[in-house]
Symmetry: C2
Subunit: 608 residues, 2 copies
């Protein structure tokens, strides 16, 4: 289909620049140059120079504090974080499929390399990362293909339909829903379609503030290229360095600055998809429309189950002329939550506003590096807060971190409003530096999970959304449920349970939970982790929270769909999937009926 | 399904108060008490007292001006606007269906009354209104049922599935897409499901700013009841007095104040639907979530083709403490459009901002009543604008009408920004009174279409959305295409063609066109109207505009879906419909393959 009117003034950027330093780890989160390690003094250090305030720093307070929290004086495991490749099953034969795609793809676009196949068979749950370091999976993709344009994707899908092959689209591999896990009982060959070679911005339309971007473009590439032309998509999920546009659409993603730029559904104008029935595309893109049944909407949150997203047209925003950070401390979580609620009732929100509970506030403190005297300054202020007339309790106080973006006038106005409200709730300004640090730490602390895993601590996050009136109750119930489930299983020490409110809406908020516990010597540690997380999820739903705010369902949360949807609504999902993909080519979201793989990897003792 | 946590503080309003004066016309737009008529002096008057500035007024300038514009000195048809009921086909037998629903519905909930059935068989296109005044339709619903609760809707759908009956949900009957037209070749009995007895607000949750509202509630009832509790949904389409919540969701509607409150997809939190596969409902409602394939999204814009919407949970907003109106005149359309574009690039929009072209500006002037000296004041300002140093051309100038809502501070800020920008584009403030009038006229002028129809003028509106860079070109091309198509058909006089920009987005705008021409003595007037409208629609699409911004597709625009969607995308729509409604019970959106009825009604001379 051709576009009816060529828009004047479109910019056609070249291919993105790939920084050779941006090598991505295969058995841990993030870039290879960044890891948490233990130095000769026994203090935790961070390698690389990527994350200011963290990279290259020593963090002497972290380990003692964490040992105290989990109530286990756990030893550090010696040695570097290096892991052998676990056993990888042989690829199944798929000769018909390979013969057909051979006509469209070059040899370097198809691989059976065990390490590559392994990486394409999982996301980033702690159970998956544990498995890739230990027992591996009984089933992973048999082939990985790397299409470089839409026609090649079409050829792959056609061949899969002809040959009865399963396709699973792959973007950044950052999902935390087991979306990429291969079903052990799947008899057909499984092909992972790695979209990351389709990473170009096809055009930028500066007049109409739109860009057409290929689905495999990672967030950092999109950000860098748009910034060269003065624009941003504004979409900044925690995983923005690695996750891709296609993944954002497929998981119905949310960015940390959604208050200013919207969630992915607000940013998305058009999408092109290669499905089992052919290519879905439109001859035009408009700001908003009413066209009856709209397949674009069905793709949002489709999690790879309906087709392969090849590109999308998204809204752009001018880069903000002003960005300021801020932070506020409150005496206790309830006060912080009351502040967040009242802020949500206003008409102007900061780009990002997040409330961390006391444990996470402490965590932020102990993550401060030994250098630069930051700790001393902090201590002075904190001492005053605690011993002064305000009487803050270090075991109760919480913090809000703020990012303001816009014109100078807008930012002034946002700041004024926020600090008026925080004052009303007896909040005390914590300074811009702490706010900036709090926001940027998001990217750095993602690496800690794999560090602690190496030291026998299983931990990860899960999120929900909930109406305001139920938020406090949900937090209390979920924390209680986790402590109790941990107790009941007689696991060592005490779990780390913490939460933060990461998004506000008029009607409610998004809450992230972090849960970790020491698991050395526990027979079925990963299994126990799954069980406790399930207990927590059940409690979330019972307290009125959603299955997920933005991570999605994948295979991990599919069992909980029963709890929130009527049978007819579930039947709609099944019927629709069957109608649009009658052969089940896109098998990403079929239920993992038994947790065979999880059970198997759990049977191997964690990191031992 | 039961709600997991009962939200505290929910308000349960009683049933809405129905004003006995709110009787709705059956063969014309709107309330029965309001009509345009001709008084003894030959001037146009407006009956009733509903619309300030219009109702009860004489409009001496309107007729002479309109005659000039259409270049026909047309005579007024004598007599009152009263129309006989056209021939109405006998209802087909549906004994099995009736026997089954008889167990659930009372006698007064089922009717075969010819006038009621006729009314339920059409919306508000000019062709439909012409038909109900003349030849009628060859096929209309055989029965109309009036469910009063969700269980009754379920009983109706079950019975329809069992008996092979077609269901067509009916809300306000205000659609302009022929969505309610019955297919002449439909052999099965057709039952219209009138939802208007399900018009209650089930609850208001003031803490979380949500309300659950039954789908048959008309906008005016929702507005009045929410206002009693200090809230608004903020959704104000032109048809808000009559159209219903269910209709808004089913057509993917847009309100005039979407800048402040969002379009329907932004306001909708949850929806309950009775489908052929059972009842779709959720056990919880949350601010935002990611749950994989989400049937809620499929219902948006489903136009009655997938099931019957029975209720929805929507966002609420506090009633604005401040509302101000405003207007700005610009020298020409291009300047007004440049102003609208620049405003769209800001971060703060007024609740409503609309740009009318010169013809519509003139229309607004001649609609001013003879009373109150308004005309004299206007003339003085206009005379100064035209003869003064600014040199406005009365045949070129255009106007922007503005509605500001929010707190005093917000409204101050919006005003400041808007008037700064308008000054930059050499706009001249036209005053709050003109702005208010411009906004409120929306509701009153809807009655003119049926008045002029009575005097042999066919006219109505259609809308589109388009990226900014193509907006001016689209307007020029569409106007030119209409003039040319009118010429080619050697129709009398000259068509009235006018447009306004009614919504702004960062990426583009919504444009409404108004088209009318004198048709007395034209053999196939309605046919000619359809043809010209089709020419215009083709031109809209060729110029990069959408099929519809918010009216929807219905049956009228279905042929154009080919022009914008790839075959696979169309196949998705068909497969999905078939999967979720395998028997085709919800037959609202099947294509009207031949325009039999239109042709038939066109064969009867218009109003003669």
């Amino acid at each position: 289909m051709t576009e009816p009117s060529k828009v004047k003034g479109r910019i056609h950027p070249g291919p993105p620049k790939h920084d050779p330093r941006d090598t991505i780890s295969t058995q841990a989160w993030g870039f290879e140059d960044t890891t948490f390690a233990v130095d000769s003094t026994g203090a935790i250090t961070v390698t690389g120079d990527r994350y200011p305030g963290l990279s290259g720093e020593r963090l002497p307070d972290l380990l003692p504090w964490f040992r105290k929290v989990v109530e286990v004086d756990f030893p550090l495991e010696p040695g570097e974080a290096h892991f052998e490749l676990p056993p990888v099953p042989e690829p199944r034969s798929a000769n018909g499929f390979l013969a057909e795609i051979d006509q469209s793809l070059d040899a370097d676009q198809i691989t059976t390399d065990p390490a590559v196949r392994l990486r394409h068979g999982h996301g980033h749950t702690v159970s998956e990362i544990n498995a890739v370091r230990t027992s591996g999976f009984s089933r992973i993709p048999d082939y990985v293909v790397f299409p470089e344009n839409e026609d090649e994707v079409s050829a792959i899908v056609r061949a899969a339909v002809h040959a009865g092959v399963v396709l699973m689209p792959y973007g950044g591999g950052t999902n935390v829903t087991e979306a990429l896990r291969c079903l052990p009982y799947e008899e057909r060959p499984i092909v992972s379609v790695d979209m990351t070679r389709m990473d170009r911005i096809e055009w930028i339309d500066p007049v109409n503030r739109m860009a057409k971007i290929q689905a495999g473009a990672a967030g950092r590439l999109i950000q860098a290229q748009l910034a060269e032309h003065g624009f941003t998509m504004g979409h900044e999920p925690d995983s923005v360095e690695f996750s891709t546009l296609g993944g954002w659409i497929a998981t119905n993603a949310s960015g940390m600055k959604k208050n200013r730029y919207g969630n992915i559904e607000d940013i998305l104008l058009d999408v092109t998809v290669v499905s089992a029935l052919g290519k879905l595309e439109r001859s035009q893109v408009v700001p908003r429309e009413s066209i009856g049944l709209d397949p674009k909407l069905w793709i949002i949150g489709s999690e790879g189950s309906l087709g392969i997203i090849t590109s999308a047209v998204v809204k752009l925003f001018p880069l903000p002329s002003e960005r300021r950070y801020g932070s506020v401390v409150f005496k206790k979580f309830e006060s912080g939550l009351a502040f967040m609620y009242e802020l949500a009732q206003q008409d102007v929100y900061p780009a990002s506003v997040r409330l961390v509970d006391n444990l996470q506030f402490q965590f932020g403190q102990v993550l401060k590096p030994a250098s630069k005297g930051a700790k001393k300054v902090k201590s002075k202020v904190e001492k005053w807060l605690v011993t002064g007339p305000l009487g803050f309790d270090p075991g109760e106080m919480v913090a809000v971190t703020l990012v303001f973006e816009g014109t100078k006038e807008e930012v002034d106005r946002q700041e004024k409003l926020v600090y008026q409200l925080s004052k009303k709730h007896k909040g005390f300004k914590g300074g811009a530096e702490n706010g900036k640090r709090g926001y940027l730490l998001t990217f750095g602390i993602a690496y800690i999970r794999d560090f602690v895993l190496q030291h026998n601590i299983l931990g990860e996050s899960f999120e929900t959304s909930v109406p305001w009136s139920q938020a406090q109750d949900l937090v209390d119930r979920v924390k209680r449920a986790i402590y109790q489930a941990h107790d009941e299983r007689k696991l060592p020490g005490r779990p780390f349970v913490s939460c933060r409110v990461t998004q506000i809406y008029e009607t409610g908020c998004c809450i992230y939970f972090y849960m970790a516990f020491y698991a050395k010597g526990v027979a079925d540690a990963v299994g126990a982790y799954h069980e406790i997380e399930s207990v927590a999820r059940k409690e979330v739903i019972a307290a009125g929270g959603s299955i997920s705010h933005h991570h999605g369902v994948g295979k991990l949360r599919l069992p909980f769909v029963n709890d929130i949807m009527s049978p007819a609504m579930q039947a709609w999902r099944e019927q629709m999937k069957f109608a649009l993909d009658p052969q089940g080519v896109f098998a990403a979201q079929l239920p993992l009926e038994s947790h065979d793989d999880a059970a198997q990897s759990a049977a191997v003792q964690v990191a031992s």
